[in-house]
């Protein structure tokens, strides 16, 4: 049975609903949470970067350059997030320090030419990979980079129903 609004239990529940952590306490707590979160690294693999000719990038002492897959993934996420498209999953397959395959899942809004979206996403992806890792002779952009639009939203992806 529904309780009357004047019911003491309902009044007390309302008071409890309106209770918030005091601002300084909450700021302290949220900062503490984020400090701990920033200290936790997700698993990542190193990926060999190349020079302009696609050879393993070496410095003057002959050292090779590696980039964390986390950095590559983050750059892809940023590049592929617009008001109308967002990445849902970015899966990099790294074998023996070489990027062998990239699978991208995207969420887009309705009323877009999805082929154009896919084409745009592919060119952005290849641009980011080139920027982060240099030319990758072992990666075939047609067969080793897969882009799938897995979900559509009625409105702007940021505003759509979830």
């Amino acid at each position: 049975m529904a309780l009357e609004p004047s019911d003491p239990l309902e009044r007390a529940a309302r008071a409890l609903r309106q209770e918030e952590a005091q601002e300084p306490r909450w700021l302290e707590l949220s900062e503490s949470i984020m400090t701990r979160v920033r200290g936790i690294s997700w698993p990542a693999a190193r990926v060999l970067a190349t020079d302009a000719e696609g050879r393993p990038d070496r410095d003057g002492l002959g050292s090779r350059t590696y980039v964390s897959s986390r950095v590559v993934r983050d750059a892809l996420r940023r590049a592929l997030t617009t008001g109308q498209v967002e990445p849902k999953d970015i899966d990099l397959r790294v074998v023996d320090d070489h990027l062998e395959r990239l699978d991208l899942q995207l969420v887009a809004t309705y009323a877009q030419d999805l082929q154009e979206v896919g084409s745009w996403a592919r060119s952005e992806t290849l641009r980011v990979l080139d920027e982060q890792l240099g030319p990758l002779p072992d990666l075939d952009p047609d067969t080793d980079v897969s882009i799938t639009i897995t979900d559509l939203h009625d409105d702007d992806a940021r505003l759509g129903a979830d």
Partner: protein, 195 residues
């Protein structure tokens, strides 16, 4: 004609709030800024819930931190079978129950209950009454079995549906209804002096 790249890159920034889905997708890909927004969106409610379960603010803060650290670690495997809110509350509930298992109950002092009250009318008599009302509710809640207390808090304070409560606590919806009914009845009896 503009290219699709132009269309996508020049899309105006949306004015409305960012949805849970967008935050979740970004956080799952390692975006700590998106996760910070999730913390700010659900943290205050989760903290209130944790405090109602464990009693002490310090302990509730610890419980909340553990819940969010667990959320961050497990984000990559979260597939969205339940809503983000339900998942987060499930984590904080589990951490609160773990806390109960490893610590002896701490006597609840009235000062804990009197920190913040909803009545902002400025009327000292009403404020005192609100404090006492809330303190009575806390005492009554502390006397309920854990599941009844959790069901009541999630329904009446956090505004969850029966379905979401069931998912949070791992209970069938029918059981949620039963627990809620018993909890309400007991609380109403214990609060009856305020009629």
């Amino acid at each position: 004609m503009s290219s699709s790249a132009d269309l996508l890159e020049d899309a105006p920034a949306p004015d409305g709030p960012v949805t849970d889905g967008t935050l979740l997708r970004a956080a799952r890909l390692g975006d700590q800024g998106a996760f910070a927004q999730i913390v700010d969106r659900y943290g205050p409610g989760m903290f209130r819930y944790a405090r109602s379960l464990v009693g002490q603010e310090q302990d509730a803060g610890d419980v909340l931190q553990e819940a969010f650290v667990s959320a961050w670690k497990n984000l990559p495997s979260f597939r969205g079978d339940s809503s983000l809110k339900t998942w987060l509350y499930r984590l904080v509930h589990r951490r609160a129950m773990d806390h109960h298992r490893v610590r002896r109950p701490v006597p609840v002092v009235d000062e804990v209950f009197a920190e913040v009250v909803a009545d902002v009318s400025g009327d000292p008599v009403r404020q005192a009454e609100s404090r006492e009302l809330l303190a009575d509710l806390r005492r009554a809640l502390a006397g309920l079995p854990e599941t009844q207390r959790a069901c009541w808090l999630l329904r009446e304070v956090e505004g969850m549906s029966y379905q979401d409560i069931g998912e949070t606590l791992g209970l069938p919806v029918g059981s949620v209804r039963g627990q809620l009914h018993r909890g309400r009845t007991t609380l109403a009896e214990r609060m009856s002096r305020w009629r």
